[in-house]
Amino acid sequence: MRRALLAITGLAASTTAMVVLKSGPGASQVAQELPAAGQPVAPAPDGPAPTDGGAGPEASPSGAASPRPRRSATRAPATRPTAGATSGARLPSAPRTSSAPARPTTRTVTGPVVENEYGNVQVRITLSGSRIVDAVALELPEETAQSDQRSQQVDDRYSGTSGLVVQQQGADLDTVSGATATSTSYRQSLQAAIDRAN
């Protein structure tokens, strides 16, 4: 029984230690030095980031080319797309393949990162003239299976060359039921991108 008590104490102590190591900017210094942190360590985003992970520097720009960026399984070294970057200029490894043939009139505009309690949402739209021809979610909450599932529903409904965004040509979209927070954040990022484009 003495060993059981030891094991339980050890469990509590090491869980606490791990959580502490991953929390707060002060502690992140320590964590950066640990070789085990094979994660690209970027400065923590500003502002409160209630869920873990989702708020982290996970948006992989290379994934932006695919219709479902957040599903990229590899956590490639990522530069965090700066909020408000217009055109793909700040996203060097984001060749467009799917929906935007290189026509001179085509441009992309990226909306800001909008945080909600489940993670971050960031939307990029492609315009041909003033017409939206494509919408891509660069980042969606995916930390838990639940939020991943909801994000996928929102993505399926809104994004793509034939999604609601392209159909409606604006940010006045129906909320995806059960995914209110993500829908709302999506619309905010989208609205900001549209505003920027005009």
Binding site: A4, K22, S23, S28, A49, P50, D52, Q146
Partner: protein, 473 residues
């Protein structure tokens, strides 16, 4: 009072005298087995610890430094860590009970049982912490009362009903294993409840992959986690089905004779095929199933009470309950199903070449078998309440001569001056001056074991030289 080599009077009240005095009549002479260091056991223990670290690693890699800045995030993170730990420990718990021959011989059934008990308590705490932390963390995140959140979890999240059920099963198992409660339950009931842990394994499986933050995405982590399940299930099939089947088909054990050793103790002699090829060491035990009406559905552990030979196997059983009472009436020819051998209470696990053996009551049975394989020059202290309780007396006398064993029969109740004097550091040193340099083999009732351990510690015998058989699984 101590009686060196006493011939206790009136010992044999049984009907049939021991057939051949327990000597390996014409069988293979037992040899001193080569030493097996603790290496195997240490490697296994290290592997288990490494596995634990590896199962938390995905969380560590998935969680960016500095990302846990709210209460909800912190609680949820702790919930995930404890969840991964619990998932891993549950697999280890089941693996340890798989009866894999490797584990049974390197670590030994009794030692595994001790680890299992300690890890079981840890697992229970991990499961409860996991459930509570995730619940409170999610409730905080979504700003809902905890009970509402519990409803949401059960309703909206996949596989959570079965996950809660799995936690319930584990709590029940943990509760009935608290010593005080276990003692008042019939062993069979306790055991049946414990079998429900397979149910927990099954019920808890789904939610890890449908909701686990580190496991819901297809990828190497998920694949490895599933692989761990496959390994454990394979170990179960091997240890509980294939290996016993192979063993019993090969040796086809059956009862040869049942003889009385004392009014409340019997020896069961078994014969079988190819007994000379048994990979069996004195002091090890099997789990025996006697295939008669009334007995076949229970398996009970008993040590072999003589070293392996090519003619017979023997177990010596003290009648303590309903099952052991029935064993007295076994008919010759009864087929026997055995699982084993298991245990590290053997001459092969000695650290040096001289030993002191301390036996209490029926604890003499494995010690009698170990003695046969230890190098000459051992010393034996045999505690018994009355001369009538001394078992296997003639064989011990034979061993005293054949293997140069010094034997002290210490007769009397625990509070008599003789036994009291012997079980002190000075008393031990008086009988065995070099006790600190000897391996000590200890087997007997819990009181004697606890007392002896304390005395040995005071006398300065290093713990790794002490070998324990507690008759407890």
């Amino acid at each position: 009072m101590t009686y060196p080599r006493t011939h206790a009077a009136g010992r044999r009240a049984g009907t049939t005298p021991s057939r051949d005095g327990g000597r390996p009549a014409g069988g293979v002479r037992p040899q001193v087995p080569p030493r097996r260091g603790p290496g195997g056991r240490r490697v296994l223990a290290a592997l288990l610890v490494l596995g634990l670290l590896a199962s938390v690693l995905p969380w560590w890699l998935d969680t960016p430094a500095g990302s846990l800045r709210t209460t909800a995030a912190t609680l949820t993170a702790a919930g995930r860590i404890t969840g991964l730990v619990a998932g891993y420990l549950l697999l280890v718990q089941v693996l340890m009970m798989s009866r894999l021959p490797l584990l049974e011989r390197w670590i030994g059934g009794e030692q595994i049982a001790r680890w299992h008990r300690d890890l079981g308590a840890t697992l229970l705490v991990a499961v409860l912490a996991h459930a509570a932390l995730i619940l409170v963390g999610y409730a905080d995140l979504e700003d809902k009362p905890i009970l509402t959140e519990a409803g949401v979890l059960l309703r909206d999240h996949e596989d959570m009903v079965s996950a809660f059920a799995a936690a319930g099963v584990l709590v029940l198992i943990g509760f009935t294993s608290v010593r005080a409660i276990r003692r008042v339950l019939p062993y069979e009931l306790w055991h049946a409840l414990h079998l429900a842990s397979y149910l927990a394994l099954l019920l808890g499986f789904g939610h890890q992959f449908s909701n686990g933050a580190q496991l819901f995405r297809p990828g190497p982590v998920r694949t490895l986690w599933i692989a761990m399940y496959v390994v454990v299930v394979a170990a179960l099939v091997w240890g509980r089905v294939v290996a016993p089947l192979a063993f019993n088909l090969r040796h086809r054990l059956r009862v040869a004779d049942v003889v009385a050793e004392s009014p409340d103790t019997i020896s069961i002699y078994l014969t079988g095929d190819r007994l000379g090829e048994l990979d069996l060491l004195g002091g090890q035990f099997f789990r025996w199933r006697f295939l008669t009406r009334g007995c076949w559905w229970q398996s009970h552990p008993f040590s072999v009470s003589a070293a392996a030979n090519d003619r017979w196997l023997r177990l010596t059983v003290k009648v303590v309950g309903a099952y052991t009472r029935d064993l007295r009436d076994l008919d010759p020819g009864t087929p026997v199903w055995a699982e084993g051998p298991s245990g590290t209470f053997t001459a092969a696990h000695r650290t040096g070449d001289r030993a002191l053996l301390i036996a209490g009551g029926s604890g003499i049975t494995p010690i009698r078998a170990v003695l046969e394989e230890l190098p000459p020059g051992s010393a034996l202290i045999y505690r018994a309440r009355t001369p009538a309780d001394v078992l296997l007396h003639r064989e011990l006398d034979w061993l005293a001569q054949a293997r140069d064993v010094r034997i002290w029969y210490v007769i009397g109740s625990r509070n008599d001056p003789g036994p009291r004097q012997v079980l002190t550091p000075d008393g031990l040193r008086g009988l065995v001056p070099d006790v600190v340099r000897r391996d000590v083999y200890l087997c007997g009732p819990p009181g004697l074991v606890a007392q002896s351990l304390a005395v040995l510690r005071q006398a300065g015998v290093p713990r790794r030289q002490v070998h324990l058989a507690t008759f407890e699984l």
